[in-house]
Point group: C2
Chain length 284, copies 2
């Protein structure tokens, strides 16, 4: 999925957010900003929107040193997710069959996202997580995903955000012997790297990382080993918008699980409702 | 007053607004955007914020030809201001003495501004105009302005936005024989140029324009003739934030009349309330 003019407000918001977080020093802020603007003016725009986040993160790394700007938010998200976990999982399994319950929670966790919504507040997360239990989700899509998971021998599961990953666990545990996890190779936004796996309850699984800081899987910059791991699986499950935006033309069986959080993605999907739950199977 | 990091959201909003208005063609939008980003990355940032608007407007002019992007809004603002004029002027003069009434209306008109608030809606303007009659305004400042006007023999009155100019009329008429008007030399945002004087009820006054498209008075780019006219007056009255931001270090008697519409200006004034009425006399 390609960057469009409508992505600009988001890109600008991220620039401001990253610069603010990176430093309080006005000279360094100016340096960062000038570098980000110059790079944006020059860069290839035939890219998915997460390429802009990669570019900005690399500039932050160059100017202020390798920076995990969302470290605090990442750990708080994980803590919060763990706190509400029991309560929400209990309600989910009471209202839905175990697979649908796990699926709804995994998608629901996707609301924890600082990349798209700079003003995202953890305090709102709890109610946003609960609302996912009542949102429409087509039964045929649930069945299609469940069938694909049952048939698959090897599943590559590409994680997205911290906090969200806590909720992925319930789903992943349903095919735990088949799964390899995919994570970002370097810190970017609040995306999961190897560092946060254990605290998210996802220790012990085989893991491959992209070796890159695109908040998605860049066809250009992700490690060949990452693609090899993906192709060795007979099913890929990719969480979140960033993975969808970067992998929507992947040519092997893949399911994208996410909430349609921005109007560009909602439009790209033919006008789905903002915030709606998406279970999109391709080549399946 | 100098550009600060906190001005960025506004600058980014303006970029998007100008590009959207300038063209629907995606290639031209990309060209405009790249040029604006590159210019912003390179430009001197020791400037007042309106310098960024000038820069962007010049890029629009270069890429799509001299463009009066807010022509429709400018004329609609003028029409709206005329429509509510009788009603609001009647209420103002009933509630306040004639000078204070005129002053409140002149400042109140300053709420009609597309430059700062991209989402400004003319439909809200009427109630925003009426609210100005009830907002706090220190009597000593009113008296100081009135005294300065009475003492002055020549007054240079720098206009700001369309629509707003309709409300300036009542104030200007109180010293009509002393006044020369200052306007922008080229279209920029919804600022008044010579074109809109007659429709605003301000025909017949001597006029000097800046010869420039800064939405303020650029010490660098405004015509020498404009500064000469200002210095020949013994009192300058400057309307709106753009004039304040660009002329706050002017070294002759000057009154700035505006609403503090953004947090950067509010902070610069020592933490005044957002939206408050400002009558700021310098060197008087």
């Amino acid at each position: 999925m390609q960057f469009t003019y409508e992505c600009l407000p988001c890109v600008f918001k991220q620039i401001q957010q990253l610069v603010s977080k990176a430093t309080d020093d006005s000279r360094t802020r100016e340096k960062l900003l000038r570098a980000m603007l110059a790079s944006m003016a020059d860069m290839d725009w035939d890219v998915p929107p997460p390429a802009f986040s990669r570019d900005q993160q690399l500039i932050v790394n160059q100017v202020v040193g390798d920076a995990d700007l969302f470290l605090v938010e990442k750990d708080l998200s994980t803590e919060l997710a763990k706190e509400v976990w029991e309560e929400i999982a209990e309600q989910a399994t009471r209202e839905h069959d175990p697979f649908e319950a796990a699926l709804r929670l995994a998608i629901g966790g996707n609301i924890i996202d600082y990349g798209i919504d700079g003003s995202f507040q953890l305090s709102q997360a709890k109610s946003r997580l609960f609302e996912v239990l009542a949102l429409p989700l087509e039964p045929s899509r649930i069945t299609a995903l469940q069938d694909a998971i049952n048939k698959a021998e090897k599943i590559f599961y590409v994680l997205d955000n911290c906090g969200e990953a806590v909720f992925d666990r319930l789903l992943i545990e349903q095919f735990r012997d088949k799964v390899t996890l995919g994570v970002r190779g370097m810190p970017v936004l609040n995306d999961v790297t190897r560092r946060e796996l254990a605290s998210s309850g996802l220790a012990g699984y085989p893991v491959v990382d992209t070796g890159d800081c695109t908040p998605g899987v860049s066809s250009r910059y992700a490690d060949p080993a990452f693609f090899q791991a993906m192709r060795q699986a007979d099913l890929v499950i990719a969480k979140g918008q960033g993975n969808f935006e970067t992998m929507d033309d992947y040519d092997r069986p893949i399911f994208f699980l996410f909430r349609a959080k921005c109007s560009v993605v909602a439009k790209h999907l033919g006008g789905v409702e903002l915030g709606s739950l998406q279970v999109i199977g391709k080549n399946v």
